[in-house]
């Protein structure tokens, strides 16, 4: 079975001034588990590029004035509308109109996501044992191509999903992270197998990264040693569901040890 990483709620961000171009905001420190000291070898791998959280599209809904004005970053601050109402003493229906006008881009993004989740091109990269099952998930018996998850692209520039299949060693971590950074957005990462989820049966080894979420963000974990091809396909369907539910919000990319729920 596959377990999708539940998306944590976004921390409240300061309201963005109207009209100012949207700039990348630095997210708070990634979640660190007790086992992950800053002096950990992989700790240095958490780079600025990985720590950046792409800013989600926010639908300002000024029809409803929130209790906390700084919630729903962006949108029209409640105080100003209050002043304006004092000034003109009538009820203008700004809110409904502006809400309707600003909701359109979100819908477009939703349609784009529907398109994206129907053509996920995996990167043709297998690390170890799980690669065999990854290949047999694409072959005649259980055919990944039915969901548009074919062909495997050989070049990271054209891939959407990085299926990390197999044990990640410290020597391979650098090339793998470079592959991940070469893939264009939007991109998703599926951790296939116990070794990639948590180090698996080689957790004690001196040369193995204990879970790829120490070096790169992960969207879907598919445990199993190795998971059956059906398991991988189920995980990819979960990824489709994830993309659909996020409604055009970029997934929050966090690097750091995370425990998938239910594993």
């Amino acid at each position: 079975m596959a377990v999708t990483k539940e998306t944590p709620r976004r921390p409240p961000r300061p309201a963005r001034a109207e009209g100012t171009p949207r700039q990348e905001t630095r997210s708070p420190e990634p979640v660190q588990m007790a086992s992950d000291q800053p002096s950990h070898p992989m700790g240095a791998l958490v780079t600025a590029a990985d720590r950046d959280v792409a800013e989600p599209i926010v639908v300002p809904n000024t029809a409803w004035t929130p209790a906390n004005p700084t919630a729903y970053g962006g949108g029209m601050p409640a105080a100003i509308t209050h002043l304006r109402e004092l000034e003109f003493g009538d009820k203008s229906d700004n809110a409904r109109w502006s809400g309707a006008l600003e909701i359109i881009p979100t819908k477009a993004d939703y349609v784009l996501d529907l398109i994206r989740l129907n053509s996920l091109w995996p990167l043709l990269s297998g690390l170890a044992c799980c690669a065999i099952e990854m290949m047999s998930a694409a072959t005649s018996v259980n055919d990944m191509d039915r969901f548009g998850m074919f062909p495997f692209r050989a070049s990271p520039r054209q891939a959407d999903v990085l299926i990390v299949a197999g044990t990640l060693t410290t020597k391979m971590a650098g090339p793998l992270v470079r592959l991940w950074e070469q893939m264009p957005e939007p991109k998703w990462c599926v951790a296939m197998g116990d070794c990639t989820c948590s180090g698996g049966r080689y957790k004690r080894s001196y040369a193995v990264v204990e879970g790829i979420d120490r070096v790169m963000p992960v969207d879907v974990y598919v445990p199993g040693c190795p998971p059956r091809p059906e398991g991988l396909i189920y995980g990819l369907l979960k990824l489709q569901q994830l993309i659909k539910e996020r409604r055009g919000h970029w997934p929050e990319r966090r690097v750091g040890p995370t425990v998938p729920a239910g594993v």
Binding site: S39, H40, P41, S205, Y206
Partner: protein
Amino acid sequence: MLAPVAGRQDTTEIRVSPAEVTDVMRTLHDDGAFRFRVLADLCGVDTGEVMQVVYHLWSENSPDWLRVIVDGLPRDDPRVPSMTFMWKGAEWAERETYDMFGITFEGNRDLRRIYMPPDYTSFPLRKDFYLADDAARSPGEGFRHMEQVRPPAAADRPLLTRRSKVQ
């Protein structure tokens, strides 16, 4: 010969010293009586006190494996003549043994680390190299917490080393 020829099950075992291993192996390989053409395996062993290099040979003349043990290599600077002049395929095996034990094979023209990254300073299969779960006993600390910071020659002897009762 450091010890008499011993045989157990289907294996015959001889022990030689690093000085004479070259002649012994050449004789075994070329002499018509032996004709040990197939080098079945080459590996290193850390017994806790000394290093060993173990060769396994196969010949169509005998039904047994022949095990040649080069015994008594010092742990701080083990050196063995390389076998690449006779079996070129021994090159990678010697590289692996160097990588894992730090045993230097004189005459191997490509003796570098093959598994671990080149800036790796310790030799994982030595008995004084501990895994993560007994890293507390490890003399090494620091950047890679599983690895010694100093090369093992200079490393002080750990508190407890598991020694073999096999000689």
